[in-house]
């Protein structure tokens, strides 16, 4: 009873809010109406109506087929300007010979005459023109009505009916010195002959359509492997469990550049040696066989040794390193062999295959050093993290804090030096350094907050208030770090003046360094060192979640850029053509498939993962045995779906020069050749609906 009044007033308030909401909604909608120029004037403009009618009519009358036509000409005399004397006689009706009657029999230029013809070839397409020896023929343009002031149309072609009869009104052509003379008038009748066949337009369209379909196929298949790998590291459920002690992570991070350098210096030349040998085939084969045999022998010999504990570990590390080296060499040999095969197969039936293999070989040659560097970085980093894992567990405070400070300072310096190197390239990339510094600063502030007596660190005892203070500390720290970094590296210069960072160098004794990079790395070192020093090496670092967040951010950013825009960039890089389209669609497909796939991974049943883990399987085995079987059907379905989407997108990627049918369509539209454009539109509609249906059918069967 007591809350009756409040309730009714509340409902009145709600009603008022509703009305207000509707009014605001209408206002916003009206603003949108104006902004988008919605107007009925244009729609009703007769000129525009006529053009759209013509465009639509022609689009819907696609120039699909053609057939040969045989031209037959009939000549008749016609006087322009009615000279004195006898008029040329019309031919008499002999029953089967073609003849025409002009009414009136003579006329001046621009006057309208009616021409009636008999016994012409049935169903022919005909035209009348003034025949002039050695000069261009002048057409008699068709007139829609008999009135003298009637407008001549642009057309001069008319149909002969099935009796061989026609009757048209035409305008006598104008020309210098025509008047007062009798001329030869040619009546051309084109009779269809032979079978209908595809028009040239259709042939070009089919050609381009095939290009389009393959463009989509290439983009999808190229994106597939990258997206599959990304989908695992962008899946929250797989990554969340991966945490490592901070110390191990820092050791691994510090070793990344070292490993990269080693890989580039040692493995890179080895791979390139493989390419050189592979190009001569025999040395390559011999080298690979030798390397494999050598590896097998060494691993067998070492395997016989009765080792235990750390010696065992050293052995397995050595063997792994050897295996990596052998594999890099063999990949190089394969690349070289590709180049050789490509050279052999330049002509003949297998030329396409040769081109394919050859390009792959060249690509291997180009990127093997980079791949070796990445591989080396990953290998050394994980090796370091693994090796220190044992000893690190017995490092306790205060040593763990000292160690953390040293490693944190190194890592922070390396991290911000890398972002600063990116930042020298463009304004937006320059934001990266302060943002990363802010993340470090926020973490540092949180660590400082933990120093306060009474601050509760472990999650389990934290109340909402604790959580709020925690967040507040993070935000304050992040903002401070951002501001300091932005000031130190003069972010305003980049953002406001759009100037690249200063090129001033600083002499560090051993080597020179750009001040911009040095400053960034100093900030990183201080922030990283303090934060890691306070946290200590023992604290758990959510490695998986940071990888997850990074990859998700990259995927989302990539996905938000339309392939058309990417197409523009790639056209600048590799020129107009389907290759640019392939690259643009590939990049977008990676982002899009990566997201779709990773959501599938996130939706799997966790039970099998638990079960496989409990058997003592490692992480890779768990993925292969518990995750992969669950996701294969939906991965296939999404790949089909993506191919379908890529075909649609590749029909328009040509508008920015990305090849495929869009390129043709755009040309025809620009030239106002709507009959031809109609063919392209029809082809797109057919192919897209077939693929749509096919991919739906396949997806239905698999899932």
């Amino acid at each position: 009873m007591t809350n009756k009044v409040p309730r009714s007033s509340r409902s009145a308030l709600r009603r008022l809010l509703l009305v207000l909401g509707i009014v605001i909604g209408v206002v916003i909608y009206a603003y949108g109406w104006t902004t988008t120029d919605i107007s009925l004037d244009e729609v009703q403009d007769p000129v525009r109506q006529a053009s759209v009618q013509r465009a639509m009519r022609e689009l819907l009358s696609p120039d699909l087929f053609t057939r040969d036509r045989e031209n037959r000409s009939f000549f008749v005399e016609f006087a322009i300007g009615c000279p004195e004397g006898d008029l040329p006689e019309g031919r008499a009706d002999t029953g089967d010979e073609a003849y025409v009657i002009f009414t009136p029999p003579c006329a001046d230029s621009d006057e309208v005459v009616t021409v009636e013809g008999f016994h012409f070839p049935a169903d022919a397409i005909a035209r009348i023109q003034l025949y002039r020896e050695g000069q261009q023929n002048l057409p008699f343009r068709l007139v829609k009505s008999d009135a003298a002031d009637a407008q001549a149309s642009e057309e001069s072609v008319f149909d002969v009916d099935s009796d061989g009869h026609f009757k048209v009104s035409v305008k006598v052509p104008r020309g210098r010195g025509l008047s007062g003379q009798t001329h030869q008038v040619e009546i051309q009748a084109a009779v269809p002959s032979g079978w209908p066949r595809l028009s040239d337009t259709t042939k070009t369209v089919i050609d381009k359509m095939i290009e389009t379909i393959f463009l989509a196929l290439m983009a999808t298949t190229l994106a597939l492997p990258v997206a599959v790998v990304l989908s695992f590291i962008a899946a929250r459920n797989l990554m969340r469990q991966i945490t490592l002690p901070l110390g191990n992570v820092l050791v691994g991070f510090v070793l990344l550049p070292v490993g990269g350098w080693l890989g580039y210096q040692v493995l890179g030349p080895l791979g390139q040696l493989g390419v050189r040998w592979g190009e001569d085939v025999l040395p390559g084969l011999g080298g690979s066989a030798g390397a494999l045999a050598g590896f097998a022998f060494v691993s067998y010999a070492l395997g016989r040794l009765p080792l235990a504990g750390s010696a065992r570990r050293v052995r397995s590390i050595t063997l792994n390193a050897l295996l990596v080296a052998v594999l890099v060499f063999i990949v190089g040999v394969l690349g070289g062999a590709g180049i050789w095969l490509g050279g052999k197969l330049q002509t003949g039936l297998l030329a396409d295959l040769g081109n394919f293999v050859g390009t792959l070989g060249t690509l291997t040659d180009l990127i093997i050093a980079t791949l070796a560097a990445i591989g080396g970085a990953m290998w050394l980093s994980s090796l370091g993290a693994n090796l220190v894992a044992g000893p690190m567990r017995h490092v306790f405070s205060p040593l763990s804090n000292v160690l953390g400070a040293v490693l944190g300072a190194l890592s922070g310096a390396i991290l911000l030096a890398m972002t600063a190197l990116f930042g020298t390239q463009a304004v937006l990339l320059g934001l990266l350094t302060p943002v990363v510094a802010a993340a470090l600063g926020g973490q540092l502030a949180v660590e400082v907050y933990y120093l306060v007596p009474g601050a509760r660190k472990p999650k389990r005892d934290r109340t909402d208030v604790d959580q709020m203070i925690h967040t507040l500390a993070y935000v304050v720290g992040a903002l401070l770090a951002f501001a300091i970094t932005a000031y130190a590296i003069d972010l305003l210069r980049a953002i406001v003046d759009e100037r690249p960072p200063s090129r001033a160098m600083i002499d560090l004794g051993l080597f020179e360094m750009r001040t911009y990079v040095a400053k960034s790395s100093l900030i990183g070192g201080v922030l990283g060192g303090l934060a890691a020093g306070l946290a200590g090496t023992q604290v758990a670092f959510p490695l998986g979640m940071s990888v997850y967040n990074t990859s998700r951010t990259i995927l989302n950013a990539l996905r938000s850029i339309e392939p058309l825009i990417m197409g523009i960039v790639f056209v600048i890089w590799v020129g107009v053509g389907p290759f640019a389209g392939v690259l643009a669609l590939t990049l977008h497909s990676i982002a899009s498939l990566g997201k779709l796939y990773s959501e599938q991974v996130e939706n799997i049943d966790a039970g099998p993962i638990e079960a496989i883990q409990s058997t003592g399987a490692n992480r890779l085995q768990t993925v292969v045995y518990a995750v992969v079987p669950q996701i294969v059907p939906s991965y296939i379905a999404f790949t089909m779906y993506r191919w379908d989407i890529n075909v649609r997108m590749s029909t328009i990627i040509g508008f920015v020069g990305g090849g495929g049918i869009g390129f043709l369509l755009q040309q025809q539209i620009n030239l106002l050749r709507y009959n031809q454009a109609g063919v392209a539109v029809l082809a797109i509609a057919i192919v897209v609906s077939i693929l749509d249906y096919a991919s739906a059918a396949i997806r239905e069967r698999i899932v």
């Binding site: 894992a389 044992g390 567990r393 999650k459 389990r460 049943d605 039970g607 099998p608 638990e610 079960a611 496989i612 883990q613 409990s614 058997t615 003592g616 399987a617 490692n618 890779l620 085995q621 292969v624 045995y625 518990a626 079987p629 669950q630 294969v632 059907p633």
Partner: protein, 252 residues
């Protein structure tokens, strides 16, 4: 000998699933853990092979501290601990044989297992284990074609492939009908009696626990409520464990 010392698990959400649980399990014992849903039975079992990381406390098995093991050591330890689950947790789209062979993953070179290659010895063993649980003829059909009881037997065969010395069974019969429940429990009893495998099994039904257990532990809200012989659970203890309103339900 498995020693659980002061085991505590507090989830990130703040839920205290286990609080200071300590007990010892001698080798060869059939230990049944009972308690209401949410009393911490599953968490306890999963802490033992560290599918769930304990917050505090130690778990020592044959003088090895499981809670202190590195990833590599933990995998070595897990190989010797079989586990079966309420939902069987088979890879449903894979054949029974692959599911059983997965039990050998801890012993298999990761590179070979990537291409689904197992030694002839492992395959022979897999058929032998399937024979033991009475479904050898199902080896090559998909796991999701089997009935619940059969799927659980595949789960047991998979765990047996590990040659385990300890078996964790997380409510292995909760998704099965009473008759099938007994058949699955009988297999566990057989492993306990014939192979001498220590078994830690969580169960809902006291009647099943009484039939198969050497010893019963009861959990209530994450704490040990009872530790003793099956016969010691009288009506008063029953109400302590399951609450005042609980009524005994017998399973035939």
């Amino acid at each position: 000998m498995l020693k659980i010392e002061h085991l505590t698990k507090i989830y990130d959400s703040g839920v205290r699933a286990l609080q200071d649980v300590s007990f010892e399990v001698p080798d060869g014992q059939f230990l049944v853990i009972i308690g209401l849903s949410g009393s911490g039975k599953s968490t306890l079992l999963r802490c033992i092979n560290r599918l769930i990381e304990p917050t505090e406390g130690r778990i020592i098995w044959n003088d090895t501290d499981i809670t202190d093991a590195t990833d590599e050591e933990l995998r070595q330890i897990r190989r010797k601990i079989g586990m079966i689950f309420q939902q069987f947790n088979l890879v449903r789209r894979a054949p029974v044989m692959t599911n059983v062979l997965a039990g050998r993953l801890g012993y298999t070179n990761p590179l070979w297992s990537l291409v689904n290659h197992f030694s002839a010895e492992d395959k022979r063993k897999a058929l032998e284990k399937l024979d033991r649980v009475g479904i050898r003829e199902k080896a090559h059909i998909r796991a999701d074609q089997l009935s619940g009881g059969q799927q659980q037997r595949v789960g047991i065969a998979r765990a047996l492939m590990q040659e385990p010395a300890l078996m964790l069974a997380d409510e292995p019969v909760a998704s099965l009908d009473p008759a099938t429940s007994h058949s699955v429990m009988k297999y566990l009893e057989l492993l306990n009696k014939e192979d001498g495998i220590t078994i830690l099994c969580s169960l809902h039904f006291l009647s099943l626990a009484r039939t198969y257990a050497d010893r019963i532990i009861a959990l209530k809200d994450g704490r040990m409520e009872f530790d003793g012989l099956p016969e010691e659970i009288d009506d008063r203890r029953f109400k302590d464990i399951y609450g005042e309103d609980a009524v005994r339900v017998e399973i035939a």
